[in-house]
């Protein structure tokens, strides 16, 4: 049994790399696998560059690579922040949506896209993600039953920001409306280097800090009194995790759009398979989330003659998968 879990764990860590290579390879323009490798190494070997058909470099480096990197980064960012927030709020139902993070970030990014087209959307996305989550926390913390009121307040604040978002849509020009619409459904096809470069360092740094806190999250998932008696400065550390999760989520959302369910489903899958220990849950969620979004994106660009926004796809695939696993799993993991 133990050998089997170990092998499965190794597999989950290896899949993103294999998928990344496969994703470079397929697409509407068929490039032979060997030529993909040659293109990747062509900056180092000038003679290969000359021998390759024109356009390969542009397709691999200009179009496919940034999209793959964004899929990996956004998938792991959403999963790692979902896992951290679930531990922090001692509630496996918490995700970026429930805390209002996604809708806050969505509204901020939309505002930026429509009214400040030359301004990076990440800034407003982050600002409103923080505003939304602080609103949820400040309203919910005054209640007698924090778990229930957290969920309720989250739903309300999300609805509020969704309404604000509709207002932005109403004032948007038809051209920016279409772009906004595609982006809202979760879309990686618009990603070029210019779009992803401002987000990558934020996602990387935020995820890395959350990853370093992975064991601490175990202790933070105890009741507040228990965590305090174990020597944790609960308020300060909770705030740190919320800010990091907001940073990472808003950076992902502002470039990839609103991609549903990954932050909820991926950490659950990992816990079902490997238990609740966050030293395993965080890195495995990051790897599985990265693979999940990349595979979903590959599917959207190869299944139909037109591209289905990946956000629709992750929900359509993710939810039935989740229900299936929920029904088959006899283990108590919550």
């Amino acid at each position: 049994m133990r050998e089997k879990t170990k092998a499965l764990r190794t597999l989950i860590y290896l899949v993103p790399f294999g998928l990344a290579v496969a994703s470079l390879w397929f697409g509407t323009v068929r490039i032979p696998l060997l030529d993909v490798f040659k293109t990747l190494l062509s900056p180092l070997v000038p003679s290969w560059k000359a021998a390759l058909p024109a356009g390969y470099v542009d397709i691999v480096f200009g179009i496919r690579l940034p999209r793959i990197i964004l899929a990996l980064a956004a998938g792991s960012a959403l999963s790692i922040s979902g896992a951290s927030l679930q531990a922090l709020f001692k509630n496996p139902l918490v995700n970026e949506y429930i805390l209002g993070l996604s809708s806050g970030a969505g509204f901020g990014a939309a505002l930026s896209l429509v009214f400040l087209p030359h301004f990076p959307p990440q800034l407003l996305a982050f600002a409103f993600a923080i505003v939304a989550v602080l609103l949820v926390l400040s309203i919910a913390s005054r209640s007698e039953s924090p778990a229930v009121s957290l969920l309720l307040t989250g739903v309300i604040i999300s609805a509020f920001f969704t309404a604000l978002l509709s207002l932005v849509e109403l004032f948007a020009s038809p051209y920016s409306l279409q772009a906004l619409f595609y982006w809202l459904m979760g879309n990686l096809s618009l990603a070029g280097w210019a779009q992803i470069l401002p987000s990558l360092p934020v996602i990387l740094a935020g995820s890395l800090i959350l990853f370093r806190m992975r064991w601490r999250l175990n202790v933070l998932s105890m009741s507040d009194d228990e965590a305090r008696s174990l020597g944790i400065h609960v308020r300060r550390e909770k705030f740190l995790v919320v800010v990091l999760a907001a940073l990472v989520t808003s950076a992902a959302v502002s470039t990839a759009g609103i991609i549903g369910w990954i932050g909820l489903i991926v950490p659950h899958l990992v816990r079902m398979m490997f238990g609740a220990e966050n030293r395993r849950v965080l890195p495995l969620s990051a790897a599985l989330g990265a693979s999940f979004l990349l595979a979903a994106d590959d599917a959207t660009r190869s299944l139909a003659s037109f591209e289905v926004p990946v956000g629709i796809f992750t929900s359509l695939i993710g939810i039935p998968l989740f229900i299936l696993l929920l029904r088959r799993s006899s283990k108590v993991w919550l």
Binding site: A87, R212, M213, S221, S229, G231, G275
Partner: protein, 252 residues
């Protein structure tokens, strides 16, 4: 480590805890008893730093509790809550390992030495074979023992336990009490425990603190402190003390 209480006051809506002076000695098992709402848990939580106490009102070996950082406090005092409720089902080993948190920084993960401490704590409570089992599969008696093991992994000179025997069957109840006696005798720990079972308190405690409506009604060795008049006054029902084969039984 000696815990000294000097003029501790804690006020809540219709309740006030007022302890002018109390000293909890190392190497002794001190039990706090009293009716519901007498302030047992409040006292314990003040001592554990979970409820705010005035600076200078709780002193640990000459050091003011209020002046200590959360981690420094948790290296001196371990608190064992009555119940543990979590949404996540950790393995027993990982659960006990959390007791090492006061020694580990924000970004640190436990090292081999911490694992060894946790394993030793699990062996002390006599459940070494449970390391890989999920916490939620444990019975309520085993869960109490595991909570105590986590406090042991914290490696503190003092342990504060909130009603560790409530809802346990007689066998597990005595198991927990024997464990506390061993902690005092073998490790010289300062142990403060709140109890509802007066027979257990009379049998195992070195010092008894009887609370009533937020103040101390009596304090001292059970043999000297316990009498029918005191118990009847504190619990507000007639109570009798019977001696049988050298042991004390309290009946109502």
């Amino acid at each position: 480590m000696r815990i000294e209480v000097r003029d501790l006051r804690f006020r809540r809506a219709r309740f006030e805890l007022a302890i002018p002076s109390l000293s909890i000695e190392p190497g002794r098992l001190t039990a706090v008893v009293g009716p519901n709402g007498a302030g047992k848990t409040t006292l314990l939580k003040c001592l554990a730093g979970l409820l705010p106490a005035h600076p200078g009102s709780i002193v640990l070996d000459g050091q003011d509790l209020a002046a200590l950082s959360a981690a420094a406090r948790a290296r001196r005092l371990a608190f064992v809550p009555q119940e543990h409720a979590s949404a996540f089902n950790y393995a027993v080993r990982d659960f006990i390992l959390m007791g090492r948190a006061p020694y580990l920084g924000l970004f640190a993960s436990p090292a081999a030495e911490d694992e060894a401490r946790a394993a030793e704590a699990l062996a002390f409570i006599g459940l070494p074979e449970y390391a890989d089992r999920p916490f939620f599969e444990m019975s309520s008696g085993e869960r109490r023992l595991i909570l105590i093991a986590r406090a042991l992994a914290q490696d503190t000179p003092a342990l504060l336990l909130d009603e560790p025997t409530t809802f346990l069957d007689p066998r597990h109840e005595s198991e927990v009490m024997h464990l506390l006696v061993r902690l005092v005798a073998e490790r010289g720990k300062t142990v403060l425990v709140t109890l509802h079972n007066l027979d257990m308190a009379a049998r195992f405690a070195d010092i008894l603190v009887v609370l009533k409506s937020g103040s101390i009604a009596a304090c001292g060795p059970p043999g000297q402190v316990l009498n029918e008049e005191l118990l009847t006054r504190v619990y507000e029902i007639p109570m009798r003390i019977l001696a049988h084969e050298g042991r004390t039984f309290i009946v109502r």
